[in-house]
Amino acid sequence: MLKVRDLHAAYGPILALEGISIDVPEGGIVTLLGSNGAGKTTTLKVISGLLRPLSGTIEFMGKPIHRRSAEDIVSMGISHVPEGRQLFVELSVMENLRLGAYTRNDKAAVKTDLERVMGYFPILAERREQKAGSLSGGEQQQLAIARALMSRPRLLLLDEPSLGLAPLVVRGIFQIIKTINREEGVTILLVEQDATLALNAAAFGYVLETGRVVIADESARLREDENVRRSYLGY
């Protein structure tokens, strides 16, 4: 479904990606592992069009997207839940969700989707008129995911959904991620610091180091891998 080939990207003079190639199969959950600065977030940013690649190609459903703008990419079916959530903190929960459906013109369907998404995240229904900035961290993360779902994506890019949240809250959010994958058929590319969690959720994983893919394998095999265990799983 998503084919990334030999991707290079840089922030000004600093090279962040030095030839990343990954594949995400339809309907699956794939995770990117790696330490800080390995290029995980950058990879997501390039896929969603926030950062232009220097070279390399990205194909989504058979179409090249690496030269498209972020706006176009959303309407093609990729939704990005960015690092730090990037909610519209001054706007209400409802307004945030409506903005998630900005690219869609099917009013009636948007309405039913609103109800459906709030079914996954009941707390958002309770807080619908509250400002997004007044929600707790876990609630904000839920809103960010819910907002991304509102565009009816085929592929969801999730950047560190566990960041800064209590373990119990994290567990809940990962439950929902798996449910969404299963019930909605949304493919997920997950970036996560917590390798244990990520490998539990994902079927396949890539390990990134300084802008390159160093290991690519199924989650079960990665868990067994000596290096992965020592560096990322901690046992």
Partner: protein, 313 residues
């Protein structure tokens, strides 16, 4: 201040009310231009110094249309359309190349636009006689009055208040009840997130400039019948509009209108009573109005309705 003014005002109730209502009208004009400034500030973080001169330019175009016997309503619509196009054009060609530059650089760019529009207007329309008179709206003339029990109101001032209310309602509807308006607000709050929602941020900024330019143009066309049209018409208006925008809070559109009206009333009353009952002389009157502004700012540093900026480390 209040205690000093009170007995004087008591004796001059009619004069006082006249001035209040007139202040609401002129204040609405300041408010409209302030609204334009706020619309741009919210999305670009910049005070557009050229706002008044862009309005001046299109108002001159309106004057030419009136000379060509174009009906007022039709002229009004044409000028609005032109103002919108001008605002979008300026954003696209001049502001976009500097959008990532330091804020002061963009301020200087708008100062450059200020001199460009002012001198172009004078070049094109300054050959003949200046100042030029500009017609009032069909609602009522500048010299005709409505006489009420408690106060008298010039008909054109009445028209100003009506039109300003109309503009505010239209904008309120746009921002709070349409998808486009919601997208514009989202862009103003967080551009990265807006792009991730599929919003074309560039187009929203362009639209913001177009709307601002239109609001300013309404202000220009409404003030022109009162103080006539020449190269300096908008100076005073833009200065008071800055004051109004700042007083209301630069990120608050309703604040701009409230600020404009507050400044209009204050200025009118200070002026009237400074010349009459409590004599401080005409020369100090404008200083007094500004001092009140500064005093309010010192108590509320981000204006009456503005948000306190978050301090980031």
């Amino acid at each position: 201040m209040d205690l000093l003014l009170a007995p004087q005002i008591w004796d001059n109730t009619k004069l006082f009310l006249d001035q209040v209502v007139a202040g609401v009208a002129t204040g609405s004009i300041y408010g409209l231009v302030a609204l334009a400034i706020v619309l741009i500030y919210r999305s670009t973080d910049v005070i557009n110094f050229a706002q008044g001169e862009m309005a001046l330019f299109v108002t001159f175009v309106g004057w030419s249309l009136v000379q060509a016997d174009v009906d007022y309503i039709f002229m009004f619509i044409l000028v609005l359309a032109l103002a919108g196009a001008l605002g979008a054009f300026v954003e696209l060609t001049v502001i976009r190349p500097v959008e990532n530059a330091p804020v002061l650089n963009i301020v200087i760019v708008t100062l450059g636009l200020f001199t460009i529009f002012n001198s172009l207007a004078l070049f094109i329309w300054g050959q003949g006689e200046l100042p030029k008179s500009f017609p009032a709206t069909p609602i009522g003339g500048e010299l005709d009055t409505f006489d009420f029990e408690l106060f008298t109101l010039r008909q054109h001032r009445f028209a100003i208040i009506i039109i300003a209310c109309g503009v505010m309602m239209a904008l309120y509807f746009l921002f709070n009840h349409t998808k486009l308006g919601l997208a514009m607000r989202a862009t103003a709050h967080n551009q990265v997130a807006a792009r991730l929602m599929g919003i074309n941020v560039g187009r929203m900024l362009m639209l913001g400039w177009a709307l601002a330019s239109m609001a300013g143009a309404v202000g220009g066309m409404l003030v022109a019948p009162i103080i006539f049209l020449d190269g300096t018409t908008m100076f005073r208006v833009i200065l008071y509009a800055f004051a109004a925008a700042v007083l209301g809070g630069l990120d608050s559109p309703p604040g701009a209108i409230v600020g404009g009206i507050a400044i209009g009333i204050t200025d009118n009353i200070v002026r009237t009573f400074a010349l009459g009952p409590i004599f401080i002389g005409p020369d100090l009157a404008s200083a007094a109005a500004l001092l009140i502004l500064v005093a309010v700012l010192l108590i509320k540093p981000t204006g009456l309705f503005g948000h306190q900026a978050v301090r980031r480390v």
